[in-house]
């Protein structure tokens, strides 16, 4: 499959199937500029904030650290370091709350700030074109940069694959309702984002980038329209408002007319997609040497009096963030990390802001009522109409309820991007995405168990083989020992020693003679008695 380069260069836009138009509600938070959040007293930094393995902890309790100092060392398996968000003392390394819908604990490093906020940076690489590709990738990795759009895939890893790339797509669509973090970042830091895109282009060895922004962000679009004429490599694409245009696969379809193959990567089409926030972070890491220790977070919803966008140091707890924004909780308040479509309700407010946290939504009861009771599917088919991945949500739901994993596989469950469009339009309020997520987790669990049982079988068979081998070896050893004994005996006899066989024979002969003598004596005695 190849992409139609001529049409793409001419600025043509395609469409993707399905999609919905939920109320955007972005005006709540995009009215002001991005405010730096005052430093919190304590920070809890989960050691795993991206998709990949956690790094090895390189600090100990009691250590003094400076802001920007790495706390973990990136190991194998897409590892990325995490950094101290400010200067202070490490006060604990233990299991604690992480930003995960399960509410389960994972290892977190607790940092108590000293209030001085002394920061360290790496040396800037202003002439990055003079530095080697691997050096730049290493810098991006050491800065701890993961995809800030939501999935948190290590950026350096994405760029390290040496395959020909036609376009880098920069995702500034931000299609989910309420969230305006990327919008505000683009308004205020358009030039830095462009610098980041140039670095990404240099790293990918490609000369064309498409910057996609949804049409509901006129101020950001105006910023780039003003700056982009000096950067002919970067083309602006204003995409129509529709959810989920910002999904990686949907955006690719919008901009190139091609679908990413099922279970494939954008790279299969010669494309790489990066978020605008990631481009900004790359520019800061390379040109200013700053590791990723803060990000823009949208705080919004009707239960905060000062909704807006904030520069938040990673590790700041949601409680600290909300306290600054005039949080007025209702008795049954839900706090959602992420947007209303794909976010999850937090188990409590001690959860820290991490690399992939783009929004904290604090809705009133009226704007986001709790889910109603699930009713029966009436087979209206509305879900199939809005599915951007062209799946059959209704069918998947039946299969998920029946735990028919083969059927789910046949209906391409894993192509579901969990955008929530189907659940949004469902008149029976069936939590469809909930069923898919659960089914996906179950399928993954089954796959893990399959691998584990295969290993167990191999180990069992290896053990059986070993026991059998040891038994054979033992028998063989006994046989050889017996043979050696016999041989040694025969040699000794040949040399003139007493043959033990002779001794045995002699003993038998003696025994026989004694028995014969006894028999003879007994016969003689009975003869004597009969004679009497």
């Amino acid at each position: 499959m190849t992409i139609a380069i001529k049409e793409i260069d001419s600025g043509q836009l395609w469409n993707f199937p399905g999609g919905i138009h939920p109320p955007e509600r972005k005006q709540l938070s995009n009215q002001g500029s991005i405010t730096p959040l005052p430093l919190a007293q304590t920070f809890t930094i989960p050691i795993k904030q991206h998709s990949g393995a956690a790094g090895d902890i390189i600090v100990a309790v009691g250590d003094r650290v400076l802001g920007g100092q790495p706390l973990t060392h990136a190991g194998l398996n897409n590892g990325l370091p995490v950094h101290a968000p400010t200067s202070g003392t490490i006060t604990a390394i233990a299991a604690g709350r992480i930003a995960h819908p399960s509410g389960l604990a994972d290892t977190v490093i607790t940092l108590t700030a000293d209030g001085e906020d002394t920061l360290v940076t790496m040396p800037p690489l202003l002439d990055y074109r003079e530095h080697g590709r691997s050096e730049l990738l290493e810098r991006i990795k050491q800065a701890g940069i993961a995809g800030l759009g939501g999935a948190g895939f290590p950026t350096a890893q994405k760029l390290a694959l040496q395959r020909p790339i036609e376009y880098i797509i920069i995702n500034g669509v931000e299609c989910e309702p309420y969230i305006t973090a990327d919008d505000c970042l683009m308004r205020e830091h358009a030039q830095t984002i462009i610098d980041g895109i140039e670095i990404l282009l240099h790293l990918a060895g490609c000369d064309k980038a498409l910057l996609a922004i949804e049409a509901n962000k006129p101020e950001a679009i105006a910023q780039f329209e003003q700056l982009l004429p000096q950067h002919p490599q970067i083309a602006l694409r204003v995409v129509p408002v529709k959810y989920p245009s910002g999904g990686e696969k949907q955006l690719i379809q919008l901009l190139t007319g091609q679908q990413v193959p099922s279970r494939g990567l954008p790279l299969d089409l010669g494309l790489v997609v990066q978020n605008v926030g990631t481009a900004y972070a790359v520019a800061r890491a390379v040109l200013a040497g700053e590791p990723l220790i803060q990000r823009v977070v949208t705080v919004t919803g009707e239960q905060v009096s000062q909704p807006g966008n904030y520069w938040v140091r990673l590790g700041t707890s949601v409680a600290d963030l909300l306290a600054h924004c005039g949080f007025q909780p209702t008795p049954t308040q839900r706090v959602i990390m992420g947007g209303p479509m794909m976010g999850f309700t937090l188990p409590d407010l001690a959860v820290p802001v991490v690399k992939i946290t783009n929004c904290i939504l604090v809705p009133s009861h009226a704007e986001l009522p709790p889910a109603g009771p699930e009713m029966n599917c009436i087979r209206c088919g509305a879900c199939a109409d809005v599915c951007p991945a062209q799946l059959l949500p209704q069918q998947l739901q039946w299969l998920a309820k029946a735990k028919d994993y083969d059927g789910l596989e046949q209906h391409h469950l894993f192509d579901c991007i969990e955008c929530g469009a189907c659940a949004y339009v469902c008149p029976s309020e069936i939590p469809l995405v909930h069923y898919y997520r659960k089914a996906k987790a179950e399928v993954r669990q089954l796959a893990r168990e399959k691998v584990k049982s295969e290993i167990a079988r191999e180990r069992f068979e290896a053990r059986q083989e070993r026991l059998e081998r040891e038994k054979q070896e033992r028998l063989e050893r006994h046989r050889l020992a017996a043979e050696a004994r016999k041989r040694a005996q025969a040699e000794a006899v040949a040399k003139g020693a007493d043959d033990p066989q002779d001794a045995i024979q002699a003993a038998i002969a003696r025994a026989k003679a004694r028995k014969a003598a006894q028999a003879a004596a007994a016969a003689k005695q009975s003869d004597d008695e009969s004679n009497v």
Partner: protein, 188 residues
Amino acid sequence: MSFLTALIILGVLALIFGLILGFAAVRFHVEGDPIVEQIDALLPQTQCGQCGYPGCRPYAEAIANGEEINKCPPGGETTIKNLSELLGVEAKPLDAAHGTETVKKVAVIREDECIGCTKCIQACPVDAILGAAKHMHTVIAHECTGCDLCVEPCPVDCIDMVPVPVRPDNWQWDLQQIPVRVVESGNE
């Protein structure tokens, strides 16, 4: 005469086909019983012996010879369902005489109490216990199948079977959806 010709032709054909079949039987001889392999692949490979056979493979062989399919507690209903589909027999509820389906467990040695007797090492069907005589033993947790066989031989009862901990990466989603509702509001 034609009768004789037909007989001879058929006789020759029978001989030829017989030779081909005989050759094929030797040339394409299948080692082992493939159905045993298929059954073995469906069993959980816990090697716990709760079915009464010394391991999953012996049980698979027994099933191939007509043994009941509901004697595997670690596999539970899922395994019974898969086996019934494979073998075309009716699924039955788990035979409670062989145990009940429980959560997945893993063996943990209380290491300060271990006397280093190596009895558990000899009992472990998958060599998942590490140690040497008169030295502390420990369980390689990710290789442990939770079969329970090491608990009984331990002379000082220092082995616990604990449920496999739930971590964020093996957690099963159980979350209410978060829907957006169209609301009237003065902000828009």
